[in-house]
Amino acid sequence: MQFLLAEGARLGLSLIGVISLVAVNALFLIWMERKVSAHIQLRPGPMEVGFHGALQTIADALKLIGKELITPEDVDKLIYLLAPIVMFLPVLVSFLVIPFSPTLLIRDLNVGVLLIFAFSTLTVLAILMAGWASNNKYALLGAIRSVAQNVAYEIPLLLTAMSIIIMAGSFQPSVIVAQQGLVWNIFVQPLAFILFIICGTAETNRAPFDIPEAESELVAGFHTEYSGMRFAIFFLAEYTNMFIVSAVATIFFLGGWQGPFLPPVVWFLLKVYALIFLMMWFRWTFPRLRFDQLITFAWKILIPLSLVNLIVTAFVLKLVR
């Protein structure tokens, strides 16, 4: 009984912690994105609300909460309403297994990495649901693009992930981090790191792979018909996905929480946000790829490269051990 109570309290606390982390992270990332883009584009960005616009996103969030939730006519109501939830819930689950430090993690599952990948795949379903149910042609096109893109990029993502996993010999995030005690994987597997970041950027639908919501083509893509907080949840999920992808990349390649002097959590977050900054940098520098080029890139370049990487890794490991 006591054990159940303790576990229940632990889970409840974790849930609160995760939700607040997600919210604060999204608020911060939106502000960060606006600032990064502004400085790349020779402008100051938000400056009015709070110190250098730090409270701007809070004001924006409050505005979005106050907006009317419009449900357009002739939408497939059940799916339309479910889509934001399906988008957001898997994102929360992924936080269960992310090790922020040796002690700060909710569950140290031995299939942790697998769990993250499995649940992050669900976002495709949500995008498809949103695009299909919206009864809008732009949304539908966005959804079609998204499915094709995510299926194409999931493969090289998992293949590169496999090459790290066979090195560590485990799906357990903490083991993968511990395995990189002396040399981080980025130095052992530089190609895998590059592949992983490219696929991760594509998985999160960020530029230059942002074709599902390509503003200048599809207006807003799959979430064209969503307003108010429903739209905000898509937004929230996008930024949280960025965090998760960067967190996984940190675990895989940058030695997770490891680092001198500073506490482990600080190191972990530093690495995550550095990677997020890299992704933002991509977005504000590169043009957008065309749909067919994007798919060609995945099938003809990324998948063969990641396969080669996996085979070489396996081969070398066999020789060494």
């Binding site: 200048s216 043009p287 957008r288 790829l289 065309r290 080029q293």
Partner: protein, 396 residues
Amino acid sequence: MNSAELAPSTETMLLNLGPQHPSTHGVLRVWLELDGEVIVNADPDIGYLHRGIEKMCENRTYHQCLPLTDRLDYLAGTANNFGFVLAVEKLLGVEVPKRAQYIRVLLAELTRISSHLFWLGTHGHDLGAMTPLFFAFREREELMDLFEMVWGGRLFPCYLRIGGLAADLPEGFVEKAWDFVKKFPERIKDYHNLLTKNRIWIARTKDVGVLTKEEALDWGWSGPMARGSGVDWDIRRDTPYSSYQDFDFKIPLGTNGDTYDRYLVRMEEMVQSNLICRQVLEKMPSGDINVNDPTVILPPKEKVYNTIEGLINHFLLIEKGITPPKGEIYQAIEAPKGELGFYIISDGSPHPFRVKVRGPSFVNLSPTKVLAKGRLLSDLIALIGTMDIVLADVDR
């Protein structure tokens, strides 16, 4: 059995792109028939910004038409004024003094740079490169400041007059123009850094919207669009007007006639325009800015206030207007977007009998259907961007 019979039967989807759409550059509406992402048919539908400028001109005096021409291609107001003013002057048979010609060339070339900068920014933005927009607008803003010094506004100049200019250049303008002209070649490197060698940019623009030299001529393309296809034709060089023969400049040409070539042509045109501006500033003559013809140009104020002849002259020009002789005239200039021609029929009255505008945007837009067919939706966006259309110029 051929492959068409084996393929599963599919329906095409009709998509109404515009008139409210982020990248149709105004109120262009394109009826799209899509097979998945592939365009089966693209039909541009125009007329949402039709204001009847040509018809309105018929009830106005020649000078009252001038502000209307501002609103043709609103990104290059001076170029429109330039064409109209030159046409009327040709009808009247007057030639403005050298200084006025040089000032007109200077402003027209600065306008070309500003128009091309706008194209660069929006074209990049359409293809997902958000940042060149802000770099281009940094320079455009400086140009806008220059323009504001001259005519007090930003977009609608109305600074040129039939037979001269509204006023001489303001004090301090030449120095500021020199500043800009000197630093612009450095600034243009920023845009090249962002786009020219970018693999994604090349992939998005190469072999998109290809028109061969012959086809480009058949479709009536002119300006940078035709030069991108290798048509060696520039009105500034081939039929010089307003002293363009005094200046030394190159006409950049493309070879493949695709969007990337047109991008390179426009980028080089900015450099060449800047060169022309430099030469104008170096050679700027002094002297009058208006023709010495009382039937065209208003008398100076001291004459109006002190002599009865001056007063009558002023009264007649204001109340009645300029009366060119009977006849018809066509005058074309090299506007930033291509050949901008004015065809004016005069019946000898102070109002033009007919004004026909040959706007470059309309002609540039016309092969959309051919160029978009069989391409992807994203290519259509690149096409609209490379055509550099202003819907106000298309619909008039």
